[in-house]
């Protein structure tokens, strides 16, 4: 054996110190500070063992030298270029080969994640809505991604939770009557609604006819005390209450104008709650106005309102958003939403663009008569449903095909469980009162069969391949058919027996697991590896199961061909299900899941209300969609030249001329900070804590999420900064130590500066040149010129200047953005690295770097377009499961 080969063979056996090829370089340029004795920053390179399984430290050494950060340029002369290149080549080759061999199969077998499980059930059963994620334990994460096998354990708790979730899905899917439930249709005029009446009496709401105050109920005013205040009472209230209850008002078809937002959730309930779960069409006629001089006047920009559905018994809590509507000035507009409602959800209206300044209209001087501010009017509200164009619905037919539904006969087995038809709990009247006695207590109906085993076999033959996401062989049906027979023998009716079978299918490993790259994973996919590719694609781009066209391409072997692969990906991105990818990927990549972790201090940020939060949350995923749909270059992540805005978000950013609640693309002039990731309020908010901003947190976010260069964690024992919002010291001043102490500066000179640039954005993403405080400071200039109450002060000035580790300077966020956008290859590599974790479900090893570089280079012709990067990733060995 040749001597050098002998050494190379010996090395793994010795396992000592750095690779000898590298040791000469380390001795010459690194040991001065990083030897056994000195151990600067805690790093000892002299006695550090080189363990091929623990490469992190040596990767860092490589990266620090490659970036010119080490040896520190200011303290030492740089090593000669040739020497440095040789050292890096050697170390790179070593790290590449070692990281390759420690990774058996790159992508490993894993179970479905929580959101994947929900989407898979939903798609499989064609359910319009399924809300079961909360039943499942949270997934673990690796490098911030829940798609990686290492984070996805399976416990008895999981199995039990899956079973409960499946039962809920089956309950929603199975039709319990031969005929569809009666369609309920109602148009509601607001004046007669329970809470509306009370508010009309008190003067928070006003009765309007033909866009002017309705004389049937005068606008409330007068009876102020000496200080000019009124309370909730008043000598006129008794008469007003009687008037509101009289037919002239309670049966009036006049509009009602709301001058207050919907506080506590129940102030503006529509008094309708469905008895049957199903798809409902809701329409509402709305208009906005500016209230002054006791009547509606035109307003400068449209108002916005939402409809929410509150879970039964929880009228005051939460509520889920159904739709947002734009209410144009002084002009009735009908908004419509068709969506699934669960039984007994109450529908509530909220005029979210009306700011709340702490007092109800009824409590301030003059009430409605003297009030000045924005308002919104409802002409009427309509609901129709449950809409069932086909009966039984598609979800039922996925389980029981065309088998008839009829009266349950006891001799066929024990009766299936049924929820009772009932009225809603709570004080709101409901549709229950319109039901006939037979509808209230319907006969027990269920699926009928004349040959249970034959029908069971037929149903299972259709269901199993869909559930297993591949073709199945006859033998795979056997255990499930045996279960069916056994349940029938135990006395279950056909519906219940089949339910057991479906639960068994949906808790089987073929359903719960996605195969990895290991050849042995074929046992989960005996039909062929291209089915594994189909699933890998669909769980990437749809966060859900493959559909029939994708499976067909897998079946005939065309999916692996580059043109077919690209074509399928484009089809999938154009499909509505891609919405799930944009939401789930941005949650994980950009940490958008943390957006609602904190509530901004209402005194410091009174402008931050629900409707702004909606725009903030919508911008980032819409932005990524636009970039990918138009195949815009990687550079556009930071400098796109446009922004995805709603009206309220545009106002927040100081961009005029945008109207309406929908998100749309707005072109922006060059040189601004808005539009790209670093100018988006969602990023600013999730890296702040609702009161104060942290350059360190934002700097870490940029390093980790944008550049894929996560900084090492802080050393143990570092005391936390005690934030002080009394206005005397800025966070930058408090972080001085990061600059002064060389132990801190080693990492923080790289982490902090980008965060300092972003200090120009406050906790809610607004631009600032002075810090807000609740203590000392000056009165802000915009006080009195905005619709919300400004009580904060402005204190010390913001210093957004800084210097990157390589010496380049910036003095504003625009400067930082330009510097980072210049290196678009770096942005593209980071994007592909993050995307690969999500799409391939594997951590990025050192050896993968070369592959990622190759993916980026392959798209040079498309200027590193994001969609091209996705195509190139899908065609690379990072993504494709091995074929045989």
């Amino acid at each position: 054996m040749r001597p050098s080969a002998f050494i190379l063979v010996l090395l793994p056996l010795l396992g000592r110190s750095a690779p000898p090829e590298a040791r000469a370089f380390l001795e010459a340029h690194c040991y001065e500070c990083h030897d056994k004795e000195t151990r600067k920053g805690g790093l000892d390179l002299e006695s550090a063992a080189y363990d091929p399984k623990e490469l992190t430290r040596w990767v860092r050494v490589h990266d620090a030298v490659a970036a010119g950060e080490m040896p520190p340029p200011k303290k030492k002369d740089s090593p000669p270029a040739e020497e440095k290149a040789a050292f890096l080549r050697t170390l790179d080759a070593r790290l590449t080969s070692d990281s390759q061999s420690t990774h058996a199969a790159r992508t490993q077998l894993r179970r479905l994640t929580r959101v994947e499980f929900e989407n898979t059930l939903k798609d499989l059963l064609e359910l319009p809505r399924l809300d079961i994620q909360a039943l499942l334990p949270a997934d673990g994460r690796v490098a911030g991604y829940d798609k990686i096998a290492g984070g996805l354990d399976l416990s008895p708790g999981h199995l039990a939770a899956y079973e409960e979730a499946i039962e809920r899905a089956l309950d929603a899917a199975i039709a319990t009557s031969a005929k569809p439930p009666r369609v309920y249709r109602k148009r509601v005029h607001p004046a007669g609604l329970f809470k509306f009446g009370a508010n009309l009496a008190h003067g928070q709401f006003v009765l309007l006819k033909d866009k002017q105050p309705d004389p049937a109920l005068p606008v409330r005013g007068g009876h102020e005390d000496k200080k000019g205040h009124v309370g909730f009472e008043g000598p006129d209230l008794k008469d007003r209450n009687a008037l509101v209850k009289s037919e002239a008002v309670s049966k009036s078809q006049s509009a009602v104008g709301l001058l207050n937002p919907n506080l506590a959730g129940y102030e503006a309930a529509m008094n309708v709650a469905p008895i049957y779960p199903g798809t409902y069409r809701m329409r509402i006629s709305l208009w906005g106005f500016h209230w002054e001089n006791g009547r509606p006047n035109p307003c400068d920009a449209p108002q916005a309102a939402v409809l929410r559905a509150h879970e039964e018994g929880k009228q005051q809590e939460g509520g889920r958003l159904l739709a947002a509507f734009t209410a144009p000035s002084m002009e009735s507009k009908v908004g419509e939403i068709t969506t699934w409602l669960d039984a007994h959800e109450s529908i509530v209206f909220d005029p979210v663009s009306i700011p709340w300044n702490g007092l109800r209209i009824g409590q301030v001087a003059g009430r409605a008569a003297k009030h000045v501010g924005p308002g919104m009017a409802i002409d009427w509200f309509e609901i129709e449903g449950p809409l069932n164009p086909v009966w039984p619905p598609a979800s039922h037919r996925r389980l029981f095909a065309e088998l008839p539904i009829g009266r349950h006969r006891p001799e066929t087995g024990t009766a299936p469980r049924r929820e009772k038809v009932r009225s809603q709990g709570g004080y709101l009247p409901s549709m229950y009162f319109d039901l006939t006695p037979e509808e209230r207590d319907p006969p027990l109906e269920t699926v009928m069969t004349s040959d249970a085993v034959a029908d069971g076999r037929r149903l299972l033959t259709a269901f199993l391949p869909r559930a297993f996401r591949r073709d199945v062989v006859e033998a795979e049906l056997t255990p499930y058919l045996e279960l069916l027979s056994s349940r029938l023998r135990s006395g279950d009716c056909f519906e219940d027996a089949m339910r057991r079978v479906y639960v068994a299918v949906l808790t089987s490993p073929e359903f719960l697991f996605l195969p990895g790259d290991a050849p042995a994973d074929r046992s989960l996919f005996p039909a062929g590896p291209d089915f594994a590719l189909a699933s890998r694609l669909s769980y990437w781009l749809w966060v859900g199961p493959p559909d029939e066209p994708l499976l067909a391409a897998a079946r005939d072997g065309s999916l692996r061909k580059p043109e077919t692969l690209r074509g399928q990906m484009d089809r999938m991105l154009a499909d509505a299900r891609s919405r799930r990818f944009y939401a789930d990927f941005t949650r994980q990549w950009l940490e958008l899941g943390r957006l609602d972790e904190t509530v901004p201090d209402p005194l410091l940020y009174p402008e931050y209300r629900f409707i702004l939060n909606e725009g903030v949350a919508a911008e980032t995923p819409a932005f990524l969609r636009e970039l990918i749909e138009r195949n815009l270059p990687a550079k556009a992540l930071l400098e796109p030249g446009f922004a995805m805005l709603t009206q309220r978000l545009a106002e927040h950013y100081g961009i005029s001329g945008v109207q309406g609640v929908e998100v749309r693309r707005v072109e922006l002039p060059k040189g601004g900070v808005r539009g790209g990731l670093l100018g988006q309020a969602a990023i600013h908010k999730l890296t702040a804590n609702g009161t104060t901003t942290s350059p360190v947190k934002r700097g870490v976010w940029i390093s980790d999420r944008l550049l894929d260069e996560p900084p090492p964690p802080p050393p143990p024992g570092i005391s936390a900064v005690d934030p002080d919002t009394r206005g005397t010291t800025t966070i930058r001043e408090q972080l001085e130590r990061h600059r002064k102490d060389p132990n801190c500066a080693a990492c923080h000179a790289k982490i902090d500066p980008p965060g300092f640039a972003l200090e120009a954005f406050d906790s809610v993403g607004g631009l600032r040149d002075r810090y807000r405080s609740n203590g000392k400071g000056d009165v802000p200039a915009l006080k009195g010129r905005v619709p919300w109450k400004v009580e904060y002060r402005v204190g010390p000035g913001v210093d957004a200047a800084g210097e990157l580790r390589d010496g380049r300077r910036f003095d504003s966020p625009a400067g930082l953005i330009a510097l980072l956008a210049a290196d678009d290859a770096r942005l593209a590599r980071a994007f592909v690295a993050h995307l690969s974790r999500y799409a391939t479900g594997a951590e990025v090893s050192y050896a993968d770097r070369a592959r990622i570089r190759a993916v980026v280079e392959a798209t040079r012709g498309d200027a590193l377009g994001l969609r091209s990067l996705m195509h190139a990733l899908a065609a690379s060995e990072l993504f494709l499961p091995p074929s045989r």
């Binding site: 058996a104 199969a105 490993q108 077998l109 894993r110 334990p137 949270a138 673990g140 994460r141 690796v142 490098a143 911030g144 096998a149 996805l152 399976l154 416990s155 008895p156 708790g157 999981h158 199995l159 079973e163 929880k314 005051q316 809590e317 469980r417 279960l483 056994s486 219940d496 057991r500 068994a504 808790t507 089987s508 490993p509 719960l512 990895g516 290991a518 050849p519 042995a520 994973d521 046992s523 989960l524 904190t598 509530v599 201090d601 209402p602 804590n689 609702g690 009161t691 964690p713 143990p716 024992g717 005391s719 936390a720 900064v721 005690d722 934030p723 919002t725 009394r726 609740n774 203590g775």
Partner: protein, 410 residues
């Protein structure tokens, strides 16, 4: 005999502890761990140098001789501010990091050891559902946070309300049906494991073990189905709909916990008193709690937050009073119940996870003191857990980052 029938028969014969502990057997020992996710302001909680009490501890003066307070304890490596809530009983390090893996919590270890003899091995409770790191402090062996029950009504039903004969028959059918499903997937798991890749085997094994464990639970539930639930005098509580009534909800849960322990329905309980996103219904409080904990040293915010924290401590004092007032085996319920009350945050304003406020009451320890440890190099809180484990009859020298029992506690 089919495997399913054999297991069913075995389940029906499963020996359960004899009804009624009034026999010669010693009364059991129990654990109640309560977590206050948003902390307690250190300047009011900890006694100053040389002093015995503090403004907050003064509220518990009536119970001083039954509790011990601690300063200078924390979990090494547990940072991540609020995320540390999930590690309060597990001490798993670095919860904020993307690579975080949680580990078995103290209460679940105890449940494994002493939970077999009660209807419920443990109960995880909470006063509201909100942020995952504040909802529950119970963590399974596989690092999964166990969801907490938030409804007092549902809990009462679970503990004390018997099913009708139809409900019981239906329950037995469900168990039986569940068993058939488990049989099927167990078979599949075994077959798959045989041919699987070594790298993947661990994951398939988890699946296999999970099914086995569910089978075991099924057997036990058959046995418990056939056994009547305890009778209590207290009527079924009604859930309080308003999330801001967090103090009233705490009181309600505390009552149920006492009943659950008294009837030996369980011996291990965890309870999370989360006030995130809540404006507690306490006089003088107008702002949301989490925002107040970031008071930035402003006096008005501190004063408002103090009202909330004092209200919570008062309710805790009521709980101690009720445990002391419930007689048992010549003493009181508190004698044999260890009550841990503390937070993962030492200082919510700075998000510090060091110097945690911790109280231990009852359980038969020698109480009355305040144990101080080094404020700069904290002692491991898990050492306290080791002491607790031993007192519960679990033979343990270590637990998570705990290296031995806590000095000074006996």
């Amino acid at each position: 005999m089919r495997r399913r029938d054999f297991l069913l028969a075995a389940g029906a014969c499963l020996a359960l502890p004899a009804l009624g502990r009034e026999t010669e057997k010693e009364p059991p020992r129990r654990l109640l761990a309560i977590h206050v996710p948003l902390g307690m302001m250190p300047q009011y909680f900890f006694p100053k140098e040389g002093e015995a009490s503090s403004p907050y501890l003064g509220l518990l003066a009536a119970h001083r001789s039954h509790l011990t307070t601690f300063a200078g304890l924390s979990h090494p490596g547990v940072d991540g501010n609020h995320h540390a809530g999930q590690c309060f009983l597990s001490a798993a390090p670095h919860p904020g990091q993307p690579t975080f893996r949680n580990s078995l919590s103290l209460d679940q270890l105890v449940a494994e050891k002493i939970g077999e003899d009660t209807r419920f091995a443990s109960l995880a409770l909470s006063v509201r559902k909100g942020e995952h790191y504040a909802d529950s402090i119970s963590v399974s062996r596989s690092g999964v946070i166990l969801p907490a029950e938030t409804s007092a009504e549902r809990l009462y039903r679970k503990l004390f309300v018997a099913g009708t004969p139809e409900e019981k028959a239906a329950a037995m059918r469900r168990i039986e049906a569940g068993g058939s499903v488990l049989d099927l997937i167990l078979d599949k798991a075994k077959r798959l494991e045989k041919g699987s890749d070594p790298g993947d085997r661990a994951r398939l094994d988890q699946y296999f073990q999970s099914v086995r464990e569910l089978e075991g639970r099924l057997q036990r539930s058959i046995a418990w189905e056939n056994r009547p639930k305890p009778k209590v005098d207290a009527p079924m509580p009604r859930d309080i709909a308003d999330a801001n009534e967090v103090v009233a909800r705490s009181r309600l849960m505390f009552d149920l916990v006492r009943l659950a322990l008294q009837t030996d329905s369980t011996r291990v309980v965890t309870l999370s008193l989360s006030t995130f996103s809540v404006v507690p219904h306490v006089p003088g409080v107008k702002n949301e709690t989490h925002g107040l904990t970031h008071h930035g040293n402003e006096p008005e915010k501190i004063a408002e937050l103090r009202r909330i924290e004092e209200a919570q401590l008062k309710v805790f004092g009521e709980l101690l009073g009720s445990l002391r007032g419930t007689p048992e085996a010549g003493g009181c319920l508190l004698d044999r119940t260890q009550v841990l009350y503390g937070s993962c945050l030492g200082n919510a304003n700075s998000h510090s996870n060091q110097n945690l406020p911790v109280i231990l009451a009852g359980g038969g320890f020698r109480h009355g003191g305040h144990l101080r440890f080094d404020p700069v190099n904290n002692a491991p809180l898990a050492n306290l857990y080791v002491s607790m484990l031993r007192r519960l009859g679990v033979d343990a020298d270590r637990f998570a980052s705990g290296t031995g029992p806590l000095r000074g506690l006996s």
